[in-house]
């Protein structure tokens, strides 16, 4: 068996997916840029991350088979969560490395803008063959 064929097949996955024309949404990663006021209060403005702007993607609902009601009613408030599973058109290690915004790192947590809506990034994963990056995003409204 020609094992090179496996690598060739893997390399062809994303071009084939892109060729379907389904990557109709645009994904932009946004990082917080702080402004510190005179009292030391911090205000964050989110700005696009260079190299991660307007990436073609598929932003699918969490469950494509049906509509999932994730709206929870309580006595005093309503929380509505919209969760999407986003497939980007290529492997973006910069996103994988930077989205967390851990406190001990020199950066804050990133958000994602998809087709004009701002989402929190819940997780980022890349496949073992580094052909694609997938992002789970959440839009929660209280």
């Amino acid at each position: 068996m020609n094992q090179d064929a496996i690598a060739l097949a893997i390399a062809g996955v994303m071009p084939a997916a892109i060729a379907t024309g389904l990557f109709v949404s645009l994904f932009t990663a946004m990082e917080p840029v702080p402004t510190i006021g005179p009292t030391g209060a911090v205000e964050f403005d989110y700005t696009p991350v260079s190299g991660l702007i307007d990436i073609p993607c598929i932003a699918a609902p969490e469950s494509p088979a049906n509509i999932v009601a994730t709206e929870v009613r309580a006595l005093t408030e309503i929380t509505a969560s919209e969760i999407r599973h986003v497939l980007l058109d290529a492997w973006y290690p910069q996103l994988d490395a930077g989205w967390r915004g851990e406190n001990s790192d020199d950066k804050g947590a990133w958000i994602a803008t998809i087709d004009g809506f701002n989402y929190e990034i819940s997780g980022v994963e890349s496949d073992s063959q580094t052909t694609q990056t997938r992002v789970k995003v959440t839009l929660a409204t209280v």
Binding site: P34, I36, G37, N103, D106
Partner: protein
């Protein structure tokens, strides 16, 4: 001027506080109440939070003098650094912080005339909200005299 602005202004003017909190990128890591993400990695941070304030009254009404409980948190990834800055705040900085008169806010700044600040307690904790490794936090509780007219 809000008390936190007074404290931050005087901290920025203090060489000892600068040595701990002023980063090479120009950021002075003295924050109002909350520790924003991404700064403990740069170095020692301080947050000042007003817990409560009590206003003195006389028969004709309230005075401008209030007694403010201020919680000052000192954060660092190194416990010794956090304790050293906490000691510096206790022994050197807060005894020279005057929030009662405007002497230190003049140009040029004058000496502190009424630095009536009392340390009430101190405790050390680990803050696990700082990921991936927790930050050492020294929590100082002060009672600060503040003139609300300044």
């Amino acid at each position: 001027m809000p008390l936190q602005q007074k404290l931050r202004t005087l901290a920025m003017a203090d060489a000892g506080m600068q040595s701990y909190l002023l980063g090479t990128n120009g950021t002075f890591r003295f924050f109002d109440a909350q520790l924003p993400k991404g700064y403990v990695g740069q170095g020692t941070c301080v947050t000042a939070m007003v817990v409560s304030s009590a206003l003195d009254y006389v028969q004709s009404g309230p005075l401008a003098l209030e007694w403010v409980r201020v919680q000052i948190n000192v954060w660092d990834m190194d416990s010794v650094v956090a304790k050293n800055l906490a000691n510096y705040i206790q022994n050197s900085w807060m005894p020279r912080v005057d929030c009662v008169t405007d002497s230190q806010f003049q140009s040029p700044p004058g000496p502190p005339l009424s630095a009536a600040n009392f340390k009430l307690s101190q405790r050390g904790v680990l803050d696990y909200s700082v990921m991936p490794t927790p930050a050492w936090t020294e929590i100082l509780d002060f009672r600060v005299a503040n003139n609300t007219n300044i």
